[in-house]
Symmetry: C2
Subunit: 432 residues, 2 copies
Amino acid sequence: MEVFDPAELWSRERIEETQLVRLKNTVGQARKCDFYRQRLDEAGIGPDSLRSLDDLRRIPFTTKEDLRTQYPTGMLSVPQTEIVRMHCSSGTTGSPVAICHTQNDINSWADLMARCMHMVGVRREDVFQNMSGYGLFTGGLGIHFGAERLGCLTIPAGAGNSRRQIKLAKDFRTTVAHILPSYALILGEHLRNMGEDPREFPLRVALVGAEPYTEEFRRRIEGLFDMKAYNSYGLSEMNGPGVAFECLEQSGMHLWEDAYIPEIIDPETCQPVPDGEVGELVMTCLCRQGMPILRYRTRDLTRFIPGECGCGRLHRRMDRILGRSDDMFIIKGVNVYPMQVEQVIMTFPEVGQSYLILLENDGIGDVMRVQVEVRDEFFVEDMRALQNLQKSIAQRLRDEILITPKVELVQSNSLPRTEGKAVRLQDLRAKK
Amino acid sequence: MEVFDPAELWSRERIEETQLVRLKNTVGQARKCDFYRQRLDEAGIGPDSLRSLDDLRRIPFTTKEDLRTQYPTGMLSVPQTEIVRMHCSSGTTGSPVAICHTQNDINSWADLMARCMHMVGVRREDVFQNMSGYGLFTGGLGIHFGAERLGCLTIPAGAGNSRRQIKLAKDFRTTVAHILPSYALILGEHLRNMGEDPREFPLRVALVGAEPYTEEFRRRIEGLFDMKAYNSYGLSEMNGPGVAFECLEQSGMHLWEDAYIPEIIDPETCQPVPDGEVGELVMTCLCRQGMPILRYRTRDLTRFIPGECGCGRLHRRMDRILGRSDDMFIIKGVNVYPMQVEQVIMTFPEVGQSYLILLENDGIGDVMRVQVEVRDEFFVEDMRALQNLQKSIAQRLRDEILITPKVELVQSNSLPRTEGKAVRLQDLRAKK
């Protein structure tokens, strides 16, 4: 198999040996900033404390709140003169988070991104159009540098302006694009309005990230353009794009374990969850000098996909993001994420636009009710069909979340919405 | 003197020797594309035709129209797989122009840009905030790559969002910014509205380009922020920013003659104008592989500033852009640019917002009239003061444009405007 970086094909032993070496280096590097030195000292972790990868769990978590508190430069592990780039969250919720990179950090980020693109068959012969905004958002410069590193003809088209996107893609025969799934639909619509068949469009690969979207939606945009769409995962705290990426198998995103140590934990107990179970992704970067971050709680919910990937790469795979751990609720001792419920009920073709999870206490214990809108054409007087649907949904939910909720079928558009957005969860239990 | 690139201090001999070597290479490289091979063959210029720099004049001009005709990839001198970046004009007038770069082209562009910033005292210790839009516009990625090359902490802030610009600049103590002059004024206003003194702002250097603005305006924004503002010249056909830049002397922009051959010609006769006279800038790039461009007619009007610069660099200096050659008119055999008229009359404090140049034929010959708005406070009944003003303006105009126009003083806001924009020139002469 042709790979961009030999590390893609490393054995588990080689991956884990390297992780331990790099973890030690990274902890040593992190100790150069006051914040981590103090925190590691408090946890009793000295320069030589890490004997095995299991010792990682002794390192305290880093939270977004920590990064905010240390803004702008409290987390630097190098003199500020070594920094050549800063990326910054929009800071829409609270104060911003700034991530600073040395030239080496920028280079290894570009290499990781190039590796992702190479993995899905992108080569220097390709024309790559970056339909992402640039500036402080890492999806612009992050993917741009990766594409140039790979040697693609890179078109920094930026976001929006469909007419120009289409003109450039046709004129330069763009084969690969970084695009939001919702924008792919808009572009396809635009082409059809121009009387053209989007399948004739030169695009053959789309890199897709940044926006939650379903597998069904992926298949839809793939069919629309007769192309392949590959999921990408990244977050600015871990550079940005290039953290995890799908291979040609399209069955989960390989986390680059030579550059990161991923963990998936129960957000309540902070203990690791078994492979295949949903939990919060925690990430440690292994190749960063400017601002190494240890055990970062991403708040993103996902799961490791068990088993080996058909592509032969042994870097573990993560599922797409299933929600935010802040949305999790606990019922009868079980952690449940609204996205788990959504994923189950949306597999039923009879189900409409919206659903509502109601948590109540009937005096004896907690009760979970799920109200599900049913499409008009299925909401008929055939009571037996509706009862069967109700039963099927309840069973499938139990298989997924381990408790059996009361399922109630309701008519389209009968569930509450606030400002056009559906309300997904109402917790009516008395706060204890 | 500490320089980024030793080429900054080359003697004229060294510069010109290098130009000849590189010109030969560039012509050889250009011949790899059909367009140039054909055009050079037609002009009888073979691989060995160039014996001295004077032979440059035998090479045909390249126009924007040529670039449009060859869009998208007709001008490539390398296989398309060698290209890693494309920048593209907005194409607001006619079809777009696409400029394609190899990795080497991107690197040498970044070096040139870093050289410009280094020349005005920017160092890796500086924090650089790029307040320019990114994407296809070269002012974003072009200056970004230069700043990173220099090792500055580079903040890709992008355009607009004053509140965020100010927050970032204060939090990171931004010392250098790439900013539009008009936006500098807006930022200053914003700070004052926040009750702050813009002079307390950490900014000490502004890189200014892209927008025509006067020397008076420069001094105004310099005073506003207690900083230095340096003019930059670039155009995407010659990479983008990094073509010419002011040194600490602030008396004209050094054209990097190891990377370009600049000429200034009469746009009518296409012959070189004497040093110090205004004409159209023509540029040949010497360091480009992907898409070398020979004798490009920029349509930008400027002049070589005669004499040697106080900084000791012998790369010739160009004046700021004085207009577009498309705006030029000819009267009594003399080429005149509206900007020349504007520059003269705006030195008079009595002159208001607008002026109008009228070209007429009185049956005997061409007549040039200049109507000038006078500020209300000067438009008094003191006829003698007004007559003196009229006479002074006429004399100063004759000194500049070599013919004596009829000057007419008019009241504020009496001259015609279309959609808020002032009309500067009306040519009422019968077309011959």
